[in-house]
C-alpha cells in the first residue's frame, strides 16, 4: 500500500495528510493557495468561518508539544469545529490500551478527524490504515519520519517571500538525522522544483545515504550557506550531547551556528527560517533570529492558515452539499 494511495481518494483529492512523499505538486499548491485565502480570515476581528461546523476534531498527542498542538487547535476552532485535546502520556499506553483501542474508542464517539503526534515513525500511516472510512488523519509529526504541515507552512513562507521555487538555493542546517521536519521539507522542496536543496551537518547528525533524499550534502556551514536564498536552521535537542553525537553545544555553535557574519555569505535577500522553538546561542545567534532576514514569527502565523487549509481540504469531500446528497439518493432509488 503506497502512501499516495492512502492519502488521496480515487479523484486525487486529499483524504489523509500523512507525508509529502507521493503527493502531486498540484495538491501542495492547492494547500498553499487555500491557506492564502485563510490568511485573510485570521486577520479579521471575527476570526471564524463555518466550514467545519458540527465536526469533531481530536488532537491526539502522544508526545509533548505546545506550539504545534496550539496551532492545530486554533486552526480547528477558526473552522468552527469542536476540538478535543488528548495528551496521552506514554505511561497510559503502557497500562495496556493499544493505539488501536484508542482509535476505536474515539471513533465510537463519532470523531471526524484525528490530528496525531507520536514518537514512532509510521504512526500516522498506522492510524490512517485502520481508521473508519469517514475519518481523516492528519500527521502532526511521527518519529523521525514526517511533519508535513510544518513543511507546507515553510513552503508557504518561502513562496510569499520568493514568489516561487525555481532556481532557489535552500539550505537546511543541523540535525537532519532525527528531524521529521527536514525530511518533509526536502520532499516538498524537491516536489515544488527548488533549484537546489542542501543540507549541512556533521556526519553524526546525517542519515546514511542522505543524498538519496535528493540533497547536496555539506559538512562545512560556510560552504553550504554560500549564495543560499533560504536558510533553514533546525533545533538541536540537548540529548544529542548524551548520545555521543556531539561533544558540546559550544563546539556545535562554533561550527554550525548561524551568526550575522556567516549570514553575509548567503544571497543578499536571503531569509532565515526555523521550525521553533529556537535555542538561542546553540544553533542560531539572537542577532540573526531577531534580525531583518528572519521570518521565524511569520512561519508561526502561516502555520494556522496552512493547518486550516489541510483540515478543510481533507474534510471537505465528506461534507456533500444537501442537494447533492438528495440527488444521490434519488439516483439510487431510480
Amino acid at each position: 500500500m503506497s502512501g499516495a494511495n492512502l492519502q488521496v481518494d480515487e479523484n486525487g483529492r486529499l483524504r489523509h495528510f500523512l507525508t509529502v512523499e507521493g503527493l502531486h505538486r498540484g495538491l501542495l499548491v492547492e494547500i498553499m493557495d487555500t491557506a492564502e485565502s485563510f490568511l485573510g480570515v485570521v486577520e479579521q476581528s471575527v476570526k471564524k468561518v463555518p466550514l467545519l461546523r458540527g465536526k469533531t476534531i481530536v488532537n491526539l498527542f502522544f508526545e509533548a508539544s505546545t506550539r504545534t498542538r496550539t496551532t492545530f487547535e486554533l486552526a480547528a476552532k477558526r473552522l468552527s469545529a469542536d476540538v478535543l485535546n488528548i495528551n496521552v502520556d506514554a505511561s497510559a499506553t503502557v497500562k495496556g490500551e493499544t493505539l488501536l483501542d484508542t482509535l476505536r474508542n474515539l471513533e465510537a464517539m463519532h470523531c471526524d478527524m484525528f490530528v496525531v503526534r507520536h514518537a514512532d515513525s509510521g504512526t500516522a500511516h498506522f492510524f490512517a490504515r485502520h481508521a473508519a472510512p469517514h475519518v481523516s488523519v492528519i500527521n502532526a509529526g511521527d518519529g523521525r519520519h514526517a511533519h508535513p504541515t510544518q513543511a507546507l507552512l515553510d513552503m508557504l513562507t518561502i513562496r510569499r517571500h520568493k514568489g516561487g521555487f525555481d532556481r532557489l538555493r535552500v539550505v537546511i542546517v543541523g540535525d537532519i538525522l532525527h528531524s521529521r521536519v527536514a525530511r518533509s521539507q526536502i520532499r516538498a522542496l524537491n516536489l515544488l522544483g527548488a533549484g537546489e536543496v542542501r543540507v549541512v551537518a556533521p556526519h553524526t547528525l546525517l542519515p546514511v545515504r542522505a543524498e538519496t533524499l535528493g540533497v547536496r550534502v555539506f559538512h562545512d556551514l560556510e560552504a553550504g550557506i554560500r549564495d543560499a536564498d533560504v536558510i533553514i536552521m533546525l533545533r538541536l535537542q540537548h540529548e544529542r550531547m548524551r548520545g555521543a553525537l556531539l561533544p558540546s553545544e559550544h563546539e556545535y555553535f562554533r561550527l554550525f551556528g548561524l551568526t550575522a557574519e556567516r549570514l553575509t555569505l548567503a544571497a543578499p535577500e536571503a531569509i532565515v527560517m526555523h521550525p521553533g522553538p529556537i535555542n538561542r546561542g546553540v544553533e542560531i545567534d539572537s542577532q540573526v533570529a531577531d534580525g531583518a532576514h528572519s521570518v521565524i514569527l511569520e512561519q508561526v502565523h502561516y502555520g494556522i492558515a496552512v493547518r486550516m487549509a489541510v483540515m478543510s481540504l481533507a474534510m471537505h469531500r465528506r461534507i456533500p452539499a444537501p442537494e447533492a446528497r438528495e440527488a444521490g439518493a434519488e439516483r439510487e432509488i431510480g
Partner: protein, 436 residues
C-alpha cells in the same frame, strides 16, 4: 497424530517410483524406498520377508529426508496465545518438516532440565514432528550467569544459545564458550552487537533514511561476528551462527573457515528473497530481526548458500497473534511465520538457478542435522524413516486458508509457488497426506 516415538508399531511401507534424493548418501534417482519398524530398510530391493502394509505411489514425485528446521519458535511454554507445540508441529509436517529445533526464549526460558523435559513430553504427546531444544547459555537469558550446561545436555539439549538476548560482556561470552566446550556442546550465536543496534528496527540504509526509521547498521552484525570469531578461535568451541543477514558476514565466515575455525552458519529463507525496500510504507509484516538488508546482501547470502559457506536454510518461524503486528512499525514484534514457506522458498531458489535440487535439499536436511548433531536428515538404511514427498511440478498459492500455523504473519501470502508436499512421514508413520 501422537506417539511419534512408538516406532516399532509403524506399518511396513513402500514408497514406489519416487525420485529419491538423499544428499547424505549421494542418492539421486528413481527408486522404491522400503520402510520398516520406523526406519529406512532398503532402497530398490525389498528386504527379506518385507510385506508392505502401506504403499505410496510416488511416481513423478520427489522423496527426500524430512526437513530439519534449525530455528522454529513453537511458543510453548508461555506464549500459547501465539501458538502451541501441537499447532506448529502440525503445520510443520504439512510443509515437509519432520524435525524442529526450538530456541531457548520460551517462558520460562529453557535454562533448566525441567523445561527441556516439559517440552519433550508435550511434543511426545501432542507433537506431529520431532522437537529438539537449544538450552539457554545464561540463566533466564539475562546475559551474565551461566546455566547448568552439563545438566541441559544430559536432559537432551542439542546446544546452547543466548539468542536473541545480549550477553553482558565479551568476558561472559568467552567464559560461556569455554564452559560449553567442556561438554562438547555446540553454541548457537546470533551476531548482533546490542549497542550498535541502538533501538533500530530496519536496516540502516536508504529506506531507513527515507522513512525516518531507526536503523540497525550492518556493523551491528559484523562487529559481533568478528568478536565472536576471535573468541571461538581461541576456545576451539564448536559454534554456529544463526540467521546471518549481510553479504560481508558471509565473507567473514568463509575466511574463518578457511583458517580452520570450527564454525557453521545459517540463513533464514525470507532473507534470500526480501530486501529493505519491501518494508515500503511501514508494512510490519516485513519487520524482522536481523533486518532485511540490501539486494547486494541478499545476493551475497544466496551465493554463500550455493557455495556452502551457509550450511543451512531455516524458517526462523515466529508465529504471532494479530495484535503483535497491529501497531506503528517500530512498536510491532519482529518475525515471520515461516514454517510453511521454508521448502517452497528453497525450491524457488532452484527455479531461479541459485542451487540445484540436491544441494537445496542438503541445505534443508543433512546439513542442519549435522549442525544439531542428530541422526536425521538422511534416508540411509537404518536411519529413522522421516520422509518428505513432494510433487515438484504442482503449482499453488499461499493463501490465508492454505496456511496452517497459528501465526498468520507472513508477507508471502499471495505468492505463487511450484512444488507441493503430498506426504510426510515421521518415524515411518504418515503424519500428513494431501488428499486434495
Amino acid at each position: 497424530m501422537t506417539g511419534i516415538e512408538r516406532e516399532s508399531e509403524t506399518p511396513a511401507t513402500v514408497i514406489r517410483g519416487a525420485r529419491v534424493i538423499d544428499p547424505a548418501d549421494g542418492v539421486d534417482g528413481v527408486h522404491d524406498l522400503f520402510l520398516q519398524n520406523g526406519c529406512v530398510a532398503a532402497l530398490d530391493r525389498a528386504p527379506p520377508g518385507f510385506r508392505a502394509e502401506v504403499e505410496i505411489d510416488a511416481r513423478d514425485r520427489v522423496a527426500c529426508p524430512g526437513i530439519v528446521d534449525l530455528c522454529a519458535r513453537l511458543r510453548e511454554p508461555g506464549q500459547e496465545h501465539k501458538a502451541t507445540i501441537a499447532s506448529e508441529t502440525a503445520a510443520a509436517v504439512r510443509a515437509g518438516i519432520t524435525s524442529v529445533c526450538c530456541p531457548p526464549d520460551t517462558r520460562p526460558v529453557i535454562d533448566t532440565p525441567a523445561v527441556v523435559e516439559l517440552i519433550r513430553r508435550r511434543a511426545e504427546q501432542q507433537g506431529a514432528a520431532r522437537v529438539f531444544t537449544v538450552g539457554a547459555l545464561t540463566q533466564g537469558l539475562a546475559g551474565s550467569q551461566l546455566t547448568e550446561m552439563a545438566a541441559l545436555k544430559a536432559a537432551g539439549c542439542v546446544g546452547v544459545s543466548n539468542a536473541p538476548a545480549p550477553l553482558a560482556s565479551l568476558l561472559v561470552l568467552r567464559r560461556a564458550l569455554e564452559y560449553a566446550a567442556t561438554f562438547d556442546l555446540t553454541v548457537f550465536l546470533q551476531a548482533e552487537e546490542p549497542s550498535l543496534q541502538d533501538g533500530g528496527c530496519v536496516h540502516e540504509g536508504a529506506l531507513a533514511t527515507r522513512l525516518g526509521l531507526p536503523g540497525i547498521p550492518e556493523a551491528a552484525e559484523t562487529a559481533a561476528l568478528a568478536a565472536a570469531l576471535a573468541l571461538i578461535e581461541q576456545t576451539g568451541v564448536r559454534a554456529h551462527f544463526c540467521r546471518l543477514s549481510a553479504a560481508r558476514s558471509v565473507r567473514m565466515v568463509a575466511r574463518a573457515r578457511h583458517d580452520g575455525v570450527p564454525v557453521s552458519a545459517d540463513v533464514c529463507a525470507h532473507q534470500l528473497f526480501l530486501t529493505e525496500t519491501d518494508v515500503a510504507e511501514f508494512n510490519a509484516l516485513y519487520h524482522v530481526r536481523p533486518p532485511l538488508r540490501t539486494r547486494h546482501d541478499r545476493d551475497g547470502l544466496r551465493e554463500g548458500l550455493a557455495q556452502g559457506v551457509l550450511d543451512a536454510v531455516c524458517s526462523d518461524h515466529q508465529p504471532h497473534e494479530a495484535d503483535a503486528k497491529l501497531a506503528p512499525f517500530p512498536a510491532t514484534e519482529p518475525g515471520i511465520s515461516g514454517l510453511e514457506t521454508l521448502l517452497p522458498l528453497t525450491l524457488r531458489l532452484v527455479e531461479e538457478g541459485v542451487l540445484d535440487l540436491p544441494t537445496a535439499i542438503a541445505r534443508l536436511t543433512v546439513d542442519p542435522a549435522r549442525i544439531l548433531g542428530i541422526p536425521h536428515g538422511t534416508l540411509a538404511p537404518g536411519a529413522a524413516a522421516d520422509v518428505c514427498i513432494f510433487d515438484p511440478r504442482r503449482p499453488w498459492r499461499l493463501d490465508a486458508d492454505t496456511l496452517h500455523s497459528r501465526g498468520r504473519n507472513t508477507p508471502f501470502l499471495g505468492w505463487e509457488f511450484t512444488g507441493r508436499v503430498t506426504h510426510t512421514l515421521v518415524g515411518g508413520r504418515i503424519v500428513f497426506e494431501d488428499r486434495g
